[in-house]
């Protein structure tokens, strides 16, 4: 469904007139910017070096960062879940969990330990919100990972509820090592490339760097405000 646009003509006409032209240009080309420092930052680093940058940044944003092989992922994740006092857990619905060998953990190991786990399911509609609001842990996957700022990039879709990363008290984000790029610059380029190939932009793209926090009371940092209070990144060595 196409939305509505109101009051545009007079509003824009006023702007064109202030810019001393009679009408809006039919096309504006973005200039070649004189300086492009964003591409120079952290350039030419190997994937291992970028991982090092990411790990260091995590220590500055109150985020626990664990590196594991694909083979050990299930064990590592289980340990973190237990450290976080177990369920209820809410995860995205995502085939990659199976690819990473987590099927047995999710459908067998955790239930046997009486750890409740739910998967986001668009067919049950609003009940997802009830479940995710009660969840102790939310588990999601980073599509693009930014080394410089220690950032996970999450794209929403019907199987990827946005609230899975906001509402639970603790957040675990899986990050394939192959998804690490130097900084937000490369993510912006990748997103535009995908759009140019005809992909639709997710209604919510989230760049998340550590747990929610605030220093609004006497400039004293408090970790855990509206979003998660604790956060763990699990880097999966998929290279």
């Amino acid at each position: 469904m196409v939305g509505t646009i109101q009051n545009r003509e007079t509003f824009i006409r006023q702007l064109s007139s202030r810019l001393q032209r009679s009408s809006i240009p039919t096309h504006v080309e973005r200039p070649q910017w004189r300086y492009t420092p964003q591409h120079k930052t952290l350039q030419n680093l190997s994937q291992d070096e970028l991982l090092g940058v990411l790990q260091k940044q995590c220590t500055r944003i109150n985020t626990n960062c664990v590196v594991t092989s694909t083979a050990d992922l299930a064990t590592t994740l289980e340990k973190i879940i237990v450290d976080y006092n177990g369920g209820p857990i809410m995860t995205w619905q995502d085939e990659r969990f199976d690819t990473y060998g987590l099927t047995a953990l999710f459908s067998d190991t955790l239930p046997k330990k009486q750890i409740e786990l739910h998967t986001w399911d668009p067919t049950i509609g609003k009940d997802n919100i009830t479940l995710v609001e009660k969840a102790n842990i939310g588990i999601t996957i980073s599509d693009i990972t930014l080394a410089e700022s220690g950032t996970a990039v999450l794209f929403s879709n019907p199987n990827h509820g946005r609230t899975v990363s906001f509402l639970p008290t603790k957040s675990i984000i899986l990050m394939p090592k192959s998804s690490i790029v130097p900084r937000m610059t490369q993510a912006a380029v990748q997103i535009r490339e995908r759009l140019q190939k005809g992909e639709t932009l997710a209604s919510c793209v989230n760049f998340i760097s550590g747990p929610s926090n605030s220093a609004d009371i006497e400039m004293i940092l408090v970790v855990g405000v509206h979003g998660p209070m604790y956060m763990t990144y699990i880097i999966i060595d998929d290279l």
Partner: protein, 474 residues
């Protein structure tokens, strides 16, 4: 004036600011910390001047093509099923948003911090015309709203409040029984607000940057309040100042990074959220309906004028964090939601000289603001332009010369501005003085002090000295 805060005269506000010792130490502490963090975060990049040039170029390109990019933005939002309303005035924006709220029979609205909604006085209008509760969800704003208090800093609105005052306020309004520890106070706010997010009918946000190419709005927070305000209520209304946009994700990236480094010294905040239209088909969370309200409210008059550069502003507050005058008088003294050097330039443009003619004079023109501005707005030059306009064209501020003189400790006759100037001059310039000589000038003063030393303003005001001297003669 909607953007006006408080009813006190300029001199009374300054007097109160200077006498409030907690506020003054809170402001100077915050300034030191934020400015140090900013310096570290920008120096770390190694080529900050290149970044500033890029930031400036992007902002200038957008302003020069604002008609084109706003048209593109509105097309893209509509293509994704969102509704766009262009509001020439604050009133038009208020009426449209109230209309949406009335149609939704809204009882409760959650709102994430936004300067432009303060500027158009949205909360009061909605409470009056829709009869709904509007709840500020940014922790600082939430605290202020409980007691109808006013923000004093662009990024740290409750800077002037002590934790004990926050505790008292929670006790009074919520029967809070916890301690004054910030962790505990924050946890209380988390609990209260969680329920509000889940039961609100509408979420209202500001917009740090809109992206023309994709019809997106980008909101940055550390608390995650904008995310919850937009993920849970059925209707989202985003209000943006018309100049706050970029062509594509690539420029968004640059400016978001510069914003958070300049504001608080972070590489990125915890949440950079890019929202495009309402939820897509099949999505379970996110708003069913999305409205983007694009506000002019005096901005188009600035476009194409000698003050156009102020529209480059990305609201980082770095200029306030380094300003020696802001340090001593605090945010409330500006009498506007826009405080600090940017406020001293912008408030008279949006709110008129009648209300804000003193602000351009509440500056030492030291140029430190210009030096730190990530998008290279020549702030002190714009302040000087205001003074020229006020004196030459408006002919109503016979204080400029005297004020300037008084800042430098030369001056004679009595006036409110003179008292103000001499009241703050000595402490304002204190960090730069050595043996009563100004030896470490900043900004334009630097060129001067690099060659010779400037006599520092005396702690003893000329008038006091004169009175004492007269007494002596007696």
């Amino acid at each position: 004036m909607p953007m006006k805060v408080g009813n006190e005269s300029f001199n009374n506000r300054v007097g109160e600011g200077i006498q409030n010792t907690f506020m003054r130490s809170a402001v100077s502490g915050a300034q030191d910390r934020l400015e140090t963090n900013r310096q570290l975060a920008t120096e770390e990049l190694g080529n900050w001047e290149e970044w500033r040039s890029l930031g400036e170029e992007i902002r200038q390109h957008v302003l020069a093509n604002l008609d084109y990019y706003l048209t593109q933005l509105s097309e893209q939002v509509a293509a994704r099923g969102g509704h766009v309303f262009f509001a020439a005035t604050a009133e038009e924006a208020q009426v449209y948003i109230a209309d949406v709220a009335n149609k939704k029979q809204a009882k409760k609205i959650v709102k994430s911090k936004s300067m432009v909604t303060e500027e158009i006085d949205l909360n009061h209008y909605l409470e009056e015309h829709v009869g709904c509760r509007v709840i500020e969800t940014d922790l600082g704003e939430y605290i202020l709203q409980l007691d109808n208090d006013l923000p004093s800093h662009i990024v740290a609105p409750a800077l002037h409040r002590k934790k004990e005052q926050v505790q008292e306020s929670f006790q009074h309004h919520h029967q809070y029984e916890g301690t004054e520890r910030p962790e505990e106070l924050t946890k209380h706010a988390r609990k209260m607000l969680r329920d509000d997010y889940l039961t609100a009918d509408i979420g209202i946000t500001g917009c740090n940057f809109a992206v023309a190419e994709t019809g997106s709005v980008c909101i940055v927070t550390n608390e995650g309040n904008a995310d919850l305000s937009t993920a849970l209520p059925k209707t989202q209304i985003t209000v943006m100042g018309m100049e706050r946009l970029v062509p594509t994700f690539e420029e968004l990236e640059v400016l978001v990074n510069m914003l958070t480094r300049s504001a608080v010294g972070q590489k990125l905040p915890s949440y950079v959220t890019v929202l495009s239209g309402p939820r897509q088909e099949g999505d379970v969370d996110g708003p069913e309906e999305f409205h983007l309200v694009i506000v002019d409210n005096g901005r188009s008059e600035i476009l194409g004028s000698e003050f156009q550069a102020i529209l480059q502003c990305i609201r980082c507050g770095a200029c306030a964090n380094i300003c020696p005058v802001y340090r001593h008088v605090g945010g409330h003294s500006y009498g506007s939601i826009y405080s600090g050097p940017v406020g001293a330039v912008l408030s008279p443009l949006l709110g008129g000289y009648d209300e804000y003619k003193e602000l351009p004079f509440a500056s030492t023109l030291c140029g430190a603001c210009t030096d730190v501005c990530p998008v290279k707005i020549p702030l002190h030059e714009l302040l000087h332009k205001h003074r020229q306009t006020i004196v030459e064209k408006e002919g109503r501020a016979p204080v400029s010369e005297r004020f300037l003189m008084s800042i430098f400790g030369i001056g004679s006759s009595s006036s409110g501005m003179y008292k103000f100037g001499s009241k703050v001059a000595s402490s304002v310039l204190k960090p730069l003085t050595k043996n009563d000589q100004l030896s470490k000038g900043i900004g334009p003063l630097k060129n001067w002090t690099d060659i010779r030393e400037f006599p520092a303003p005396k702690k003893e005001r000329f008038r006091d000295w004169f009175e004492n001297r007269q007494k002596g003669d007696d």
